[in-house]
Amino acid sequence: MTADAALFDYLLRLADTDLVLAQRLGEWVGKGPVLEEDIALTNVGLDLIGQARLWYAHAGDVEARLAGRGRTEDELAFLRDGAAYRNVQLVEQPNGSYADTTARQFYFDQWHLRVLHALTTSRDGRVAEIAAKSLKEVAYHVERSADWIVRLGDGTDTSHERMQAALDELWPYTGELFAVDAVEQALIDAGIAADLGVLHGPWRDAIARVCAEATLTMPAGEWMQGGGGRGGKQGVHTEHLGRLLAEMQHLQRTYPGATW
């Protein structure tokens, strides 16, 4: 795989992960437990869509260098099948209860913050610019999701129990966040991608700190989903992604090229 081909794949991992989670958050519109949370989830999703667009645009430029023509943001988002999606499996998991949505967001935000921070010094100048812009937005996301972990964990017996169950349930999807395959390793060696190995320890420390404050037990299971280079980043997804894409892509698939 050439350097540009690896970069294209890596940019799709970043973009697809943002977009799929944004789509999940969008499913909460009109159903949030309180109005403020309805608005907050949508705002977080909106930030992620904005960031996904920047990554897709860059991916399209890289693809143009590779193939003569690069796909547009819309083509990349709406006209690829599940197996071509490169998002991590964590973000395609269903919304479930508010505890499930919060656990998913918490694990993701803490990872996202550190990845973006690392990417601000990427040797790819455009990657560094996008990361610096996105990092500022994600700093709010991190505060918000950690806040909710504490509120629900250190809340009532019921909220504590449900928050703990949600953290345990999604824990096996966190391994993939830090799994490095040959594509990513080549880019890490080139100083372009975030070195996930270095970020794993600080991520665990942050999860442990927030769990302690929330009177929750940090999950400790070692078996992880999507290991061995067969995870979402390689296009291997759980059953949930297909349905999400069916809804998200329905309009462009039915009326190709439709615009507002």
């Binding site: 403020e36 904005g50 913050l113 610096a132 700093a139 972990i149």
Partner: protein, 185 residues
């Protein structure tokens, strides 16, 4: 990027005929009248998103930096700016989006802050926080935010996000009014 004087010498002859010599000044004056579509009491200049106005190949180019990457107003702002500049006698003016350095609320002009407060939106209470990824606490809180209505600092955060991504929702414990707070960013 070229200055007005240099461009007059470099610009092709046809450009000299269409772009007035005071194009940059006209452009700035026109930009001061373009409101942010979601916070219409402030102009795009007061909001600090206009980073530069320059001449490129005989046409006015406005460098704009988006506030938040998902801000739905970004495309509308670009269109509004191009329309305003065309009306101000700068044909072919265009907007270029610039990501770096990333926009910060530190760039909101003093006049813009005054207008926000007068409109009932508390302006950013301090400089943009430096992001320390190692020390982020789940309960990090902004400094006391003053109520734009009664100026009391007995206020509390209701939600991290308000009517737009750039604002949070607060409530004043003194006058009981809810209000938007423009987050330092």
């Amino acid at each position: 990027m070229v200055s007005v004087a240099a461009s007059a010498a470099l610009a092709p002859a046809w450009a000299a005929a269409t772009v007035p010599a005071d194009a940059i000044e006209r452009a700035w004056a026109a930009l001061a009248t373009v409101p942010d579509p979601e916070i219409p009491m402030v102009s795009v200049v007061e909001l600090g998103i206009v980073r530069d106005v320059r001449l490129d190949d005989g046409a006015v180019v406005v460098d704009v930096t988006p506030t938040y990457s998902g801000c739905p107003a970004t495309d509308i702002i670009a269109r509004d700016i191009e329309t305003a500049l065309a009306a101000a006698g700068c044909p072919g003016a265009r907007v270029v989006t610039r990501l770096a350095p990333a926009w910060t609320t530190d760039w909101i002009a003093p006049e813009g802050r005054r207008k926000l407060a007068a409109f009932g939106i508390a302006p950013p209470g301090g400089p943009a926080p430096r992001i320390d990824v190692t020390g982020i606490s789940p309960l990090r809180r902004a400094a006391a935010v003053a109520c734009p209505r009664c100026a009391s600092t007995r206020t509390r955060l209701v939600a991290q996000f308000g009517s737009t991504a750039c604002k949070a929702q607060y409530r004043c414990e003194a006058c009981l009014e809810p209000f938007d707070y423009f987050k330092p960013h």
